[in-house]
């Protein structure tokens, strides 16, 4: 009786062991996903998480990756760099993910990136724009363009689409984002053959920009490039209009807020800004993404969702092309990326920052309207 029991027990054990062994062999490829679904950037994190999920679900339906199913292990970094470092370590040492897609805020990506780099786990951030993120090392990539790139695209748009030949810039002297944008705008505009007639700074927190604007308007630019954030843009636009300027205004994604029109009113009409993504972009990739996202989550996607989806697709595509989960091969495949994703054709420069198109959004009758897509 006892012998029989032991035999049964052994059989059960060995069967379960074999099963376990089998399931481990044919298991999934684990991909870490990080985003702040709680904390100050919670809505950003939610969109990001949904973008990851949609991409992974699609790939799994289409047969997975290298013959395996993909398993997304999502972690919340809470918008906190310390937390980001913790989840990075957990994903790498406990979950043993082959790659990490994350995260939203630059400060958190900067906390995670050195851990990825040290452990040679390829990483791609969907929306961290700080140039330092990819400078951490050759395993770190990003799916969004870095801030200054918008200045380049803005200049191209002003020169080619608005037919501007003279331009003026105004920016916040105490903010790298706005300064960088204006500098890149200036360089590209001159390169294209245009002339910069005024390049004016203002102090951080200033509310009166009339001195600079008077000077700018006296130089008669065809376009004024305002690289500030929406609340400064609104004030600058109002004062420029008061001083008699009627031409177009161009800026970067710092304009992207409903408050721009609330504060700026009619003054921001005839304004254009560069952005990563617009749901109204008629390109088939965007429209298909919007349709799928709406079907799954019942709401329209924002730029964060689109970039998270793109980041995940770029990573999965690289693993597919690498043909293995070897980190070195994935890294090489990532660097050689050249695919069409939702936010445009994407490839990487030598600093692992993307070279891709940007959308131009116009302000018309107090609404943000998709204008065009500009390639670099």
């Amino acid at each position: 009786m006892k012998k029989k029991f032991i035999a049964v027990l052994l059989t059960v054990l060995s069967v379960s062991l074999i099963l376990a062994g089998c399931s481990q062999k044919t298991t999934e490829i684990k991909i870490g996903g990080v985003g702040p679904v709680s904390g100050e950037a919670a809505t950003f994190g939610q969109s990001t998480k949904e973008g990851y999920e949609l991409a992974v679900e699609e790939w799994n339906k289409a047969g997975g990756l290298l013959g395996n199913q993909i398993k997304l292990i999502f972690q919340d970094d809470k918008g906190d760099p310390t937390e980001a470092a913790t989840v990075w370590t957990k994903l790498i040492s406990q979950d043993k993910v082959v790659a990490i897609v994350g995260t939203v805020m630059s400060k958190c990506s900067l906390a995670g990136a050195p851990i990825s780099q040290a452990n040679k786990v390829p990483m791609i951030s969907p929306t961290s724009t700080n140039p330092k993120v990819t400078e951490v090392g050759e395993f770190i990539f990003r799916a969004c363009f870095i801030d200054p790139f918008q200045g380049t695209v803005g200049a191209k748009f002003a020169y080619e689409n608005l037919n501007a030949r003279t331009a003026a810039c105004i920016f916040d002297v105490g903010n790298d984002y706005t300064k960088g944008l204006s500098e890149f705008f200036r360089d590209k505009f001159i390169e294209l053959g245009g002339e910069i007639v005024a390049f004016e700074a203002h102090a951080t927190g200033a509310t009166d920009f009339k001195a600079q604007l008077t000077k700018i308007i006296a130089a008669k630019p065809d376009v004024i490039y305002i690289s500030d954030y929406y609340n400064d843009v609104a004030l600058i636009a109002k004062q420029a209009r008061e001083l008699g300027y009627t031409g177009p205004l161009v800026g970067g994604d710092g304009w992207d807020s409903p408050d721009l029109v609330k504060i700026g009113g009619k003054a921001v009409e005839n304004g254009y800004f560069t952005n990563h993504f617009s749901k109204d972009d008629p390109s088939p990739q965007v429209q298909e993404f919007v349709r799928k996202y709406e079907a799954k989550f019942g709401k329209t996607p924002d730029a964060l969702a689109a970039l998270a989806y793109d980041a995940m697709v770029i990573m999965l595509d690289a693993i597919k092309r690498a043909g293995s989960t070897d980190p070195e091969k994935i890294r090489a495949a990532l660097a050689a990326t050249n695919i069409q994703v939702v936010s445009g054709m994407i490839s990487f420069d030598k600093n692992r920052n993307p070279i891709k198109s940007a959308v131009i959004i116009a302000i018309k009758d107090g609404q943000q309207v998709y204008q065009t897509t500009v390639n670099p």
């Binding site: 002297v173 008699g244 504060i263």
Partner: protein, 306 residues
């Protein structure tokens, strides 16, 4: 040089707003020798009071409709801003400064910084106000007037007109009214004024009331001209107005006005000359002036301290 006149107008308008704030600084200093760092926050309170009143009561006068009674609307928000600024100043005086009147002046100074921070953080914590930017309404329609090559909005003209009117009223009040006489007496010699039967605390209260009301008006005008308000909006203009008051000679009313216009115009021309270091040029002028005349431009020892 085609922009010279336009820049002058820009500078005068900026100076008008500084002047309204600087007057409160200088009057309070003249009378209690206190640098009231919370003064910039009375400016912010004035702006929010006008904003709140406009949305609460504006509809009664047709706010936002073409047939609105703009004069009544403007007077309503102006009155609201003055009352709120004045009330805040009087309250700050009663609660925070009065108990420390006979203590070392450093205590009052630190308290003033505390009051300032309290107001800022308290307002940004209030759910009805919150820390984020709000757009200020256009209380009356904006029209743009061309004067030669220059272009100004009616808002700018109203800024300058309101500031000028209030400054004239204040000058007359201080020079010719009984309260004004008492204010001058208290600023010259508190003890003697007391012996003459002047109620010092009442006079100090009145001074705070006027200063706060002026700051409130400046808040409203600033909201109209630069339509973005937030709880920390008073810090920078407050600081610049304080500097203007020192430049003109703190404690001296005409000095505060003069200093403010110098600041406004210098800042404008400096920013036009080189915007990268414009702000710096304006402050360099201040340093130079104070090196030559430490007491400020009009701050003579024999001058009336108020």
């Amino acid at each position: 040089m085609s922009t010279f006149f336009q820049q002058l107008l820009n500078g005068i308008q900026l100076g008008s707003i500084y002047a309204l704030i600087a007057l409160g600084y200088t009057m309070v200093y003249g009378i209690v020798r206190l640098i009231n760092f919370a003064h910039g926050d009375f400016f912010m309170i004035g702006a929010y009071a006008a904003y709140g009143l406009y949305y609460a009561l504006g509809r009664l006068f047709g706010a936002g409709n073409p047939g609105a009674n703009y004069l009544v609307l403007f007077l309503l928000v102006l009155g609201g801003a003055m009352l709120a600024g004045g009330f805040a100043a009087v309250t700050a005086n009663r609660v925070a400064y009065k108990p420390l009147r006979d203590k070392p002046r450093l205590s009052s100074l630190i308290t003033a910084i505390g009051v300032s921070m309290f107001i800022e953080y308290f307002f940004s914590a209030l759910p009805a106000i919150g820390p984020s930017f709000r757009g200020f309404p256009e209380v009356f329609p904006k029209t743009i007037i061309k004067i030669g090559t220059a272009s100004v909005s009616n808002y700018v003209i109203i800024d300058v007109a309101v500031a000028a009117t209030l400054m004239v009223v204040l000058t007359l009040l201080v020079k010719f009214s009984k309260v004004g006489k008492a204010m001058r007496a208290v600023s010259q010699d508190k003890e003697a004024a007391k012996l003459m039967g002047i109620n010092i605390e009442t006079i100090i209260g009145v001074t705070f009331l006027i200063g706060g009301a002026f700051a409130g008006v400046a808040g409203l005008l600033s909201g109209l001209t630069y339509p973005r308000i937030f709880p920390y909006m008073g810090i920078l203009p407050g600081l610049k107005a304080f500097i203007a008051a020192v430049l003109g000679g703190i404690g001296n009313i005409p000095g505060a006005m003069l200093g403010s216009y110098i600041m406004g115009i210098a800042e404008t021309y400096a920013n036009a000359a080189n915007s990268l270091i414009g702000e710096g040029i304006a402050f360099a002028i201040l340093i130079v002036v104070l090196l030559i005349r430490p007491q400020g431009i009009l701050g003579e020892k024999t001058a009336d301290k108020i």
